[in-house]
């Protein structure tokens, strides 16, 4: 009996280790590689042998990499702000206001997210040209908001539906307008959902490559993924693996930190939200 228990415990943790290694290894290998230089790069090392900041200096000293980071921060943040604002107001209507065609509208919003990026790229490009925002951050913000909204609206609508109707009615009796209900009553209760969807929207915008590549032409408007993709070495035959890995680590670390910070908030928010009326 105890032997069997011990065995199953060992098997359980063995499986955990396999999963963790499987998901973390690529990033770990990137970190190891980013500290290697010269011919070390092309040997398969599972442990860091040499330790050098040279690749990081190359990347950060490059002409426009820091600029790209700021572009990414600005675009991702603005996308999150726009997406959350639109999604909160839309989901209030979809969850709480009875109107004809509400179900159809919800299905259409969901349908939008079924199209692959490449399918709408040409049309979106025309739209961006028409609006005159080609090669500006707004081209990316527009397209990211379009692609984030279906998911954000759906998640927030589900959350909003679960909020007790009586709280809203109490607010109506207190003289609150829909706008006051959303901002003063519902938003504080929706924190966990907002953090989760906001974080996912941020990650999506931060990592996006195809739109960012298509809608920018100059180096100064590039976002980080494009900047990394277009990093070039001394000659055309040389792929600068070292700086690419260093850059990858630099752009991934902020995301990890964000997730770790907000994960605590999410857990805290969920338990605090468990109050009924």
């Amino acid at each position: 009996m105890t032997a069997q228990k011990l065995l199953s415990t060992i098997a359980f943790y063995a499986l955990v280790v396999v999963i963790v290694v499987f998901s973390v290894f690529p990033f770990y290998y990137a970190i190891v590689t980013s500290f290697a230089t010269g011919t070390e790069l092309f040997k398969v090392n599972y442990w860091p042998k040499a330790f050098s900041w040279a690749n990081y200096e190359t990347v950060l000293g490059g002409r426009n990499f820091v600029r790209s980071i700021w572009n990414s921060v600005f675009i991702a943040t603005t996308t999150v702000v726009f997406a959350l604002f639109l999604a909160v107001t839309a989901s209030y209507a979809l969850a709480r206001v009875r109107f004809r065609g509400r179900g159809l509208l919800l299905m259409m919003i969901l349908a939008v997210s079924m199209f692959p990026q490449i399918a709408v790229l040409a049309g979106l490009f025309e739209l961006v040209r028409f609006l005159g925002i080609f090669n500006t951050p707004w081209a990316m913000i527009l397209s990211y908001v379009i692609f984030t909204l279906p998911f954000t609206v759906w998640v927030l609508t589900t959350f909003m539906r679960d909020l007790p109707v009586e709280i809203e009615e109490a607010a109506i009796v207190d003289g609150a307008t829909p706008w006051v209900i959303i901002t003063k009553v519902f938003l504080p209760l929706l924190w966990p959902a907002l953090v989760t969807t906001g974080l996912l929207a941020f990650i999506g915008a931060w990592n996006e490559f195809l739109f960012a590549l298509t809608f920018t032409s100059s180096e100064t408007t590039r976002t980080v993924p494009v900047a990394i993709g277009l990093l070039s070495g001394a000659s055309q035959q040389e792929i600068p693996w070292g700086p690419i890995m260093a850059a990858s680590v630099i752009v991934t670390v902020p995301l990890i930190i964000l997730v770790l910070i907000f994960q605590r908030k999410i857990v805290a928010g969920l338990t605090a939200g468990g109050v009924k009326g």
Binding site: I167, E169, V173, D174, G175, K276
Partner: protein, 333 residues
């Protein structure tokens, strides 16, 4: 402070009519209780008065002013919800102050009103807490406090006691009664399915059934002169005994009603049978007597039970306390 008049009020959801034409006047300062079985439309009627739902046809007047299309906050009402509906993220003080802040009442005035209401309800030590840190009874008081500070013309209660346990329910009932005495110029409307709550709190009771007003009157009127079989059966605990068939024919009606306290155990009564069950409450006791009617007859007698289960007894109703109803459930006078 408001006299409320309902004139042929109806409410439909699509093709379904849930309120089927109600005429009712609620006087200033009156404590009116809407009572009825679930689905009778009592909560809907309250929501129509509050303005959370719009009436389909008919008129609603507050002090003679037509309020059909007035939004809730302009009607001068305050409402206490079944689930309390406190704002979970706001402290007790902010919960009570929220409505006044939206009205742009001055901070000093808000503080004064909240503190007065809190003192009245004995929750002044809880003002800095969040709703989740309060017990059910305390949350209920906060909900009532939030209604009081609005200084409403009409106070609406939607089954406010149904989430409390039995002991707390009796206590809170007393508090609401005290509140009514101390705010005697405020009209109060209270919805419940519990006829005991209705009888103990109300100045007047409106019994609703299937979207219609069955009878409105003081608790004593409804108890002594029920206007229909339904009201007779709904008001009073234990339920009024109903006899049909030969028992009713002997009195010249379709259904004969008699309350448990109006039946005596006598040596040679018209009805006799076996005692099926005895409920001893200490102060008085109930006998369930099988006399061949549809259901056993309940007899209420004072003092401790002195008749055992299985005994044969003979019982007689008091002739001046018989209720006779025709086939439509209307009283035969």
């Amino acid at each position: 402070m408001a006299k409320i008049e309902l004139k042929n009020v109806t409410k439909s959801y699509g093709a379904v009519q849930v309120i089927k034409g109600i005429d009712l006047t609620i006087e200033k300062g009156e404590f009116m209780v809407f009572v009825g079985p679930s689905g009778c439309g009592k909560s809907t009627l309250l929501r129509l008065i509050s303005g959370l739902e719009e009436i389909t046809t008919g008129d609603m007047l507050f002090d003679g002013e037509r309020v059909n299309n007035l939004i809730p906050s302009k009607r001068g009402i305050a409402m206490v919800f079944q689930s309390y509906a406190l704002y979970p993220h706001m402290k007790v003080y902010d919960n009570m102050a929220f409505g006044m802040k939206l009205d742009r009442t001055s901070d000093a005035e808000i503080r004064k009103r909240v503190e007065n209401a809190a003192k009245l309800l004995q929750i002044d030590h809880l003002l800095d807490r969040l709703p989740k840190q309060l017990s059910g009874g305390q949350r209920q008081r906060v909900a009532i406090g939030r209604a009081i500070v609005r200084d409403p013309r009409v106070f609406l209660f939607d089954e406010p006691l149904s989430n409390l346990d039995a002991a707390l329910r009796v206590q809170t009932r007393l508090e609401i009664a005290k509140l009514h005495h101390s705010m005697s110029n405020v009209t109060m409307i209270y919805v419940t399915h519990d006829q005991v709550e209705a009888m103990t709190l109300a100045d007047r009771i409106a019994v609703l059934r299937d979207g219609r007003l069955e009878q409105a009157g003081t608790p004593a009127e409804l108890y002594e002169n029920p206007n229909s079989l339904f009201v007779a059966g709904f008001i009073g605990s234990p339920k009024m005994n109903f006899l049909t068939g030969k028992f009713a024919e002997a009195e010249g009606c379709t259904t004969l009603g008699v309350r448990s306290e109006h039946i005596d155990v006598v040596p040679n009564g018209p009805w006799s049978g076996e005692v099926l069950h005895v409920e001893d409450l200490g102060s008085d006791h109930f006998l369930f007597v099988e006399i061949g009617s549809d259901e056993p007859i309940i007899v209420r007698r004072p003092g401790k039970a002195d008749i055992a289960v299985g005994a044969k007894v003979s019982i007689a109703p008091r002739a001046d306390h018989l209720y006779r109803f025709d086939a439509d459930g209307r009283p035969v006078r």
